[in-house]
Amino acid sequence: MAVFMNQPHKSAQNSILEIVALIVVIVLVGWFFVKPQMTTLSERKALLVQARTDYQNVEQEKSALAQLSAKLKSSGADITLIDEALPLQNRPTHLEVLLDSLITASGMKIVDMDFQPSEDAEVVAGDKTTLENVYGTNRKLTTTDLALTISGSIEQFRNFLQLVETNGRIVDVTSMDMVNEEGNPVFKIKLKAYSYVP
């Protein structure tokens, strides 16, 4: 009889224990398994978005490179002008030949032409690495300084300046010095020419 009186009480206790245990298990599983996995999935989704963006960027750049390559092939005349304006070599003799022709065209005479190398004289010919792969090396803008002494009239000098200004190659006159001795002006000019070399 006593047994029959206690059974319902024990079953109720067991059920409560089961419920509590299940709740605890659910909370633990949720906290230690589900939550971290949700975080991982969220992070990976962000990485996926980034990876897609990176891929699209690279594809766009690849496409732009293809377009530029095609444009380059069809722009021969423009390339010639660019190379004339900013040569890929910095031989001072090339510059002197140009200035000689401009001086002659303006009617003036050369008294002196003095190339002024930088402290570390650069290679201007025979660079085999560059010759084998002209576009394979990194290049930078460099300047060549030249001092020129020419004689002629003011009007001829003005013509010479105009020829330098409108010439295909970019050459800047950085200073002018004129001495007028007995009606024979002599002009000393400092020039800066530019090139795009390794």
């Binding site: 419920i19 709740i23 996995q37 991982t40 990976r44 660019i82 576009y135 003005r158 105009q162 010095d177």
Partner: protein
Amino acid sequence: MADINLLDNSASDKPGYALAGAGIAVKILIGVLLLVVLYYGYLRLQSSRTQKAIDDLRVQTAQAESEALTRTERGEVVTRQGQLQSLDGLIKDHFYWSGLLPELARVTLKSASYASLQAMSTGTLNLDVIVPSYADADKYLQVFDLPQFNEQFSDVKVLSISKVQSGSTVATQLKIQLRFNPEFIKKKLQ
């Protein structure tokens, strides 16, 4: 002896309902637990698929980068772009000196001439001016006070005044330093 039931008959129904309720709650919670486990499995699967997609995209990106870098015309394209960028800067700062001399001639007294001229792209001009007399030297300087003549020139300083032999006459030499507008020689004249 007959059994004596000391318990109230109506009291025997309550534990039955409570047990049934608890049983239902347990089943519900078991169901919830199963759902939680299934959801965890789903998350693991999605996570794995996402990682695979990331890895595939990274491989494709690396391939595309490699193709672009090894393209034969790339070197020339990069070189030409560098040339154009450099040219842009050079052209902006390119000097047009040919306009300075006519402008200087315009503001120069007719009786004056230049024995020497020194001009620098920074905007400094040193002049040796030869004029017939001190009065002409004064007139030469006064010109630079007039707005129609000092648009491009300013800040005239006299470094020296002396007498010099000019042919068969004695003339006045004025050594001056003045400023000219450097932007003027960057502006291409028509």
